[in-house]
């Protein structure tokens, strides 16, 4: 655990990188082993879709099912190890001022929007469009998109199996910290969905910052 997790929320002292990701836009960057990425939900109630790839061999990538199997439970929380499709820990959640993130609901796409909300929504921007464009910068394609992380997204599953995206629970300034266990390509889609409550029906900007590991 780094000192970062206990640093005052909102403080970016010592960060080596800071960037605001506009509403509805993608972003990616290589996160070096030991570095910590903080994602801040600047205005609150904003879902952040994320994927991780091993920088040395992107065929190894984040696996939602491996992650849930290893931890034995259905949500992403402080301490969750993000596991690859080769069973290795890629990163872990080292700070979280929000609590409970999703990794079962996937990302929105033009095609699934058309099924869920009617054909007129097919021509609205979607996370998969963001992912495709951002992955192309790294030589990756739609084929490489797998079930992603949804930070700040609240998807309770009840014992009957009922599965609902409900209002985002994150407040302005809530953050999550992810510390890399290997060099990873970290890819984000700042979710543009306007048809369900994951973004409070109003997509907003988010902020990212990166810290080096604390000196020993």
């Amino acid at each position: 655990m780094t000192d970062l997790a206990t640093a005052s929320p909102g403080s970016e002292a010592g960060a080596v990188y800071r960037h605001d990701i506009p509403a509805e836009c993608p972003w990616s960057r290589v996160l070096k082993r030991g570095q910590t990425l903080r994602i801040v939900d600047s205005e609150g109630q904003q879902a952040v879709d994320a994927l991780l790839y091993c920088a040395d061999d992107p065929a190894e990538r984040y696996s939602a099912q491996d992650t849930l199997r290893v931890q034995g439970s259905a949500y992403i929380d402080l301490g969750t190890r993000l596991v690859s499709n080769k069973g290795r820990v890629m990163a872990r959640i080292t700070g979280d001022s929000c609590g409970r993130h999703d990794t079962s609901a996937g990302c929105c796409s033009c095609e699934s929007n058309a099924v869920r909300f009617g054909e007129t929504t097919k021509y609205q921007h979607a996370c998969r469009e963001n992912f495709i464009m951002e992955l192309a910068k790294h030589g990756l394609t739609k084929r490489d998109i797998v079930a992603n992380l949804n930070f700040f997204m609240n998807v309770p599953i009840d014992p009957s199996g009922n599965f609902t995206v409900v209002d985002g629970i994150s407040a302005p300034g809530n953050y999550v910290d992810i510390t890399a266990d290997m060099d990873v390509i970290f890819v984000i889609s700042n979710c543009p969905q306007v048809n369900n409550p994951c973004n409070g029906f109003n997509p907003t900007p988010i902020r990212v910052a990166i810290w080096e590991p604390p000196a020993l």
Binding site: A59, E60, S63, A64, Q65, D66, L68, R69, V70, G72, S73, A74, Y75, N85, G87, R100, S104, A105, G106, C107, S109, E111, S112, A114, V115, R116, F117, G118, E119, T141, K142, R143, D144, I145, V146, A147, I157, D158, P159, S160, G161, N162, F163, T164, V165, V194, N195, N196, P197, G200, F201, N202
Partner: protein, 272 residues
């Protein structure tokens, strides 16, 4: 530039529509779901059988299904779980999508009357018969790491089976999506912890999957990682590829919800 007030009105209209869809998906649909198939109901007529295969414990099979054909998967001795991935035959970048499957149907519990969706907003297979109703889309199949952790030794596992099957049709690790596992009674409690409900497994449990597009599926017959039995006990599963009646306009799967009606329409357009 739209005004803040207009933006708020659009947001509110979107919220109202979402609340209506949620009510229809969670209140109306469960009432409309058909009852589970009885174990001795629905024998397959001999003339409808195309091929039959028995897959021993720990092994896998790759099956091609044309649109309108169906696959019966039988847990012969009630001790197996069968993990499935699959691709559209003509375009293997289109594949099953567990996240869309649960999200679109408002449920992580699939059973008779539900469908498995592709990642392109189309119906991949429909669950037209199902004696079990206890299937897993969240935890996935066994891996080298999961067998090592559970049994102290790396055993044959679903991840390696998928890799081998994919390789034989020119695909690889990048093409392996999250899987559906049949006969895997996993539930989630209020805290999010997974549980295994062994009493929901019976010898002879089966599902019939009707292909709604031309597909290639891989079935892996390995113990589910949450199955607590030690040492692992498993048995063979029987796969019967057969001809199914087409999805008529009043088909139970096709008409289960407005979302699935649309998914069928989009699928039909591939073949129009």
């Amino acid at each position: 530039m739209i005004s803040a007030e207009m933006k708020r009105e659009i947001s509110e209209a979107n919220r109202r529509r979402y609340e209506q869809l949620r009510a229809a998906g969670q209140e109306a649909t469960p009432k409309a779901l058909p009852d589970a198939t009885a174990l001795d109901a629905k024998p397959i007529a001999p003339e409808a059988v195309i091929s039959r295969e028995r897959v021993p414990a720990d092994w896998y099979a790759t099956v091609r299904l044309r649109r309108g054909e169906a696959l019966r998967i039988i847990d012969d001795v009630g001790m197996s779980s069968v993990s499935m991935i699959g691709w559209r035959a003509e375009e293997t970048s289109e594949r099953i999508n567990c996240a869309d499957t649960v999200k679109v149907q408002w449920s992580a519990a699939i059973s008779k009357g539900r469908v498995v969706l592709s990642d392109m907003g189309r119906v991949f297979v429909s669950i037209v018969e199902d004696t079990s109703g206890a299937h897993d889309l969240m935890v996935g199949g066994s891996t080298r790491a999961s067998t090592l952790a559970a049994f102290g030794v790396a055993l044959r596992n679903t991840h390696d089976n998928f890799l081998a099957a994919a390789a034989k049709i020119g695909l690889g690790l990048r093409d392996i999506p999250p899987c559906v596992t049949f006969f895997a009674p996993v539930s989630v409690d209020a805290k999010g912890a997974f549980h295994w409900n062994a009493n929901r497994k019976r010898p002879g449990d089966f599902v019939d999957l009707r292909a709604e597009m031309d597909v290639v599926v891989v079935l892996s017959n390995c113990a589910h990682p949450l199955n607590p039995v030690r040492p692992p006990v498993s048995g063979p599963v029987t796969l019967i590829r057969h001809r199914a009646p087409p999805a008529a306009p009043d088909d139970a799967c096709r008409t289960i919800s407005p979302e699935i009606v649309r998914a069928y329409e989009f699928t039909d357009r591939l073949y129009a």
